[in-house]
Amino acid sequence: MKRITLLFVVLAMLLAACGAPVTPQSQSPVVLRVGWLGFPDTLNPAYAFLSEAYTIFDLVYSTLLTEGPNGKYMGSLAEAWNVSDDGLRWTFTLRPNIRWHNGEALTIEQVVWNFNTFIQNPDGWVTNSGYVKGFKEARALDERTLQIELEYPISNMEFRVAFLYIVYPKDFESFATPEELQNFTNFNPVGTGAFKINTLDKDQRVILLDTNPDYFDGRAKIDQVIYRTFDNSDALIQALRVGDIDLAVEVPNSAFDAVKQFQGVTAISLSGRSLTELILNSVPEDHDPPPNRNPAITDPVVRLAIAKAINKQDLVDVVLQGHGIPGVSIIPPTLGGGFWFNRNIQDVTFDLDEASRLLEEAGYLLQADGVRAKDGVRLEFRLQYPSDSSNYPRAADMIATWLGKIGIRATPAAVDPDSLMAAVTPNGDYDLVIWGWGSDPDPDFMLSVMTSEQYVEGGWSDSGYSNPVYDELFVKQQKTLDENERQKIVWEMQEIVFNDRPYIVLWYDNTLQAYRSDRFVGFLTYLSGIDSFKSLMNVEPVK
């Protein structure tokens, strides 16, 4: 049975591949074959959490605005926009003649429906809910003008709008409850984007997209994009080496130098927007359910000692094989071209002797077995990490070794990501966890991770950090329209987090990618990587 399905798929793909070239030029279609390690679990923008889903959203859907190469926002569906003087009314003028993939014209009512649905149904549209917070209502002023009214001025309005994908209302209207909406996988989305889904096979884990010839901003220079999922990074790299794929969107750090040597392949290392951190359980004692942890992890001295015992440069050299920089703040230094990153923060220096001395002075004395203890509390911590990363085991191993030298016993363990997620939020059942974030272009999201209200089931906070001063500043930066004023607040917040250490940010890793430069040219090196939507629009075959 299984073999028949496979044969059918192969046939279908062959047919699809044969079907496309019946164009006037009668030449074979230009297909960009992309290899990656994940697969989107859903294509429903209401409830998507994997980055792979957002890659496909960018290709299939459009937003009002989009981020430009310099970090400024440019029009996409909207061609002009402005804000009223009080900052409470934003007006967007749509481009003319935008069509859905099914040929229907995009109407202003459909766009209004999108925004009002996001605003009115935050329980259903979970992933959008944070981005429409403070939105009051959307309305049509005329056939091409949309007005969004806000409850208070929003500092990062352009960024927020650039995140909200405009979906085809008919696909989403029929759901009665939030659960029904979220269970909808939307594997056949209708959008206005530059590519449309031709075939999505979640058993073979292949996505085939055709170029949308009617795309409002001009047709892409390639005819098809195929995403193929690989089980492990070695297989992915070998496929690139022999030319089975044209673009590898994630090259592991430990293989990057090898990939650079491949014939006809260009490997690219870009500083990105992601960070990896060591999470220290900071859940308040009175939280429900109460945290299950070694109480010593909340002691500021122990936290400082741990920070001092981690050689971040070594982590970058070994774990990232040099493709990244040591981490300091929860805001990566690339956001807004460095505008949001607090460069005044001085990181603690790596010093094992000093770390031991701090613990000794605080009363943590060495026991016979080499582990420190104070009042019967032994410095023994679980050091967990999600099992789907090839970087974390080595990092955990190195951190545990350093901690061992200052009398802290950390026991590393790989844990299935879903189980780890459940243990971390909202159960607080952990001591130390290594995990990472991909940041938004705007600092708002990374800052929100540290707010008290996010420490709930389905929320973004994993440390459980709770600080009323910080929470207040968070709301304030959201409403501060003046960029320089907002920067001051954002910098102050980073300093608070740095000093309280709910996270020890380990590193900012580069985005490592590679493509067949003997076949394609024109990849754009944006922060989001050479596989970004803009980049794919610009790619063309080597002539």
């Binding site: 592991p252 191993d397 189980s419």
Partner: protein, 319 residues
């Protein structure tokens, strides 16, 4: 007492003379013994600690350095000396193997003797438990057990978890083997005589049954040892070992995770692989030969009856 000792010594030296002539057995013993020696004297064989990072003159970790650049076997992805990892890895791999093997042997022999000697409902019960364990696929069961045990916040180290799980699951073949031997021995005349003069169960098991099946258990243990080492490597390769304590399995795990193959770093994945082959080959050779020499069923024809219970060495002595 003195007489028993003398007899044992005579048997042992007779056995040794026979064993010495068996090339396969000797090869196995040499392979296994060399690995044990390496494990024992690991600190003498390498100037580094397993966690020492080898650095280039600028202080940067020397990662994926080939043997031509550093040491006998180069460095791994973390800039650590592969040779050091290998010799220290022998300690963990062998320790887990030996301890798990001993646990398996002990449980297997105990249950085998109880089931075989007492028979009846006890035999029935124990053998059904054995059957159940035999039909459950080992590796998935162990994966689940190790992962679950480590999730629960037990204050035991990952290595102990590994040892216990392997030891507690691999006693089934020993139990069956021992039971079948005990079944045949307990029907022999000397057991019947001992019972006739009023010897208790404990006495009969200790004085008459255990000495008869001991050689068999020894041979079987050597074979279980190789299984235990292989299983430990397998679990560690799948990421369930203790990453801070290098074993051959964790070395392979890191080599795979960190793209040693794409980097062409054969010095990272071949040595631990060959080391595992080395030790398991040693165990299998030695175990098979011991079993051949000590298992009465394999040496003598079944019609010879009582003669077959004598230790194999004695026959060689009379030649």
């Amino acid at each position: 007492m003195l007489e028993t000792w003398f007899l044992f010594q005579r048997n042992l030296s007779a056995f040794w003379r026979a064993f010495r002539r068996n090339r396969m057995g000797m090869a196995g013993a040499v392979l296994l013994l060399s690995a044990v020696l390496v494990a024992l004297f690991a600190p003498l064989l390498s100037p580094y600690e397993p966690t020492t990072v080898i650095r280039d003159p600028s202080g940067r970790g020397l990662t994926f350095a080939p043997p031509s650049v550093h040491g006998p076997l180069g460095t791994d992805d973390a800039g650590r000396d592969v040779w050091t990892q290998l010799v220290y890895g022998a300690r963990i791999s062998l320790l887990v193997g030996f301890l798990a093997g001993l646990i398996a042997m002990f449980i297997g022999s105990l249950l085998g003797i109880l089931a075989g000697y007492f028979g009846g409902w006890l035999d029935m019960l124990l053998m059904r438990v054995t059957d159940v364990l035999l039909v459950i696929p080992d590796l998935p069961l162990m994966l689940v057990l190790v992962a679950t045990l480590r999730q629960m916040e037990l204050k035991i180290s990952p290595l102990v978890v590994l040892i216990l799980v392997i030891g507690l699951l691999y006693w089934t073949s020993t139990a069956r083997l021992v039971r079948s031997q005990v079944l045949s021995i307990k029907e022999r005349q000397f057991v019947a005589r001992a019972r006739a003069i009023g010897a208790g169960h404990v006495h009969i098991i200790r004085k008459h049954i255990v000495p008869q099946i001991l050689p068999l258990i020894v041979a079987n243990t050597v074979l279980i040892l190789s299984t235990a080492i292989l299983v430990e490597s397998g679990l560690a390769f799948l990421g369930l070992g203790d990453p801070t304590q290098p074993s051959w399995g964790t070395m392979l795990n890191f080599a795979f995770d960190r793209n040693a193959i794409s980097n062409g770093a054969w010095w990272f994945y071949l040595p631990p692989g060959l080391a595992i082959v080395w030790v398991s080959l040693g165990c299998v050779l030695l175990g098979n030969v011991l079993e051949e020499m000590l298992n009465p069923r394999l040496t003598a024809h079944h019609l010879e009856g009582e003669a077959s219970v004598r230790p194999a060495g004695e026959e060689t002595l009379h030649e």
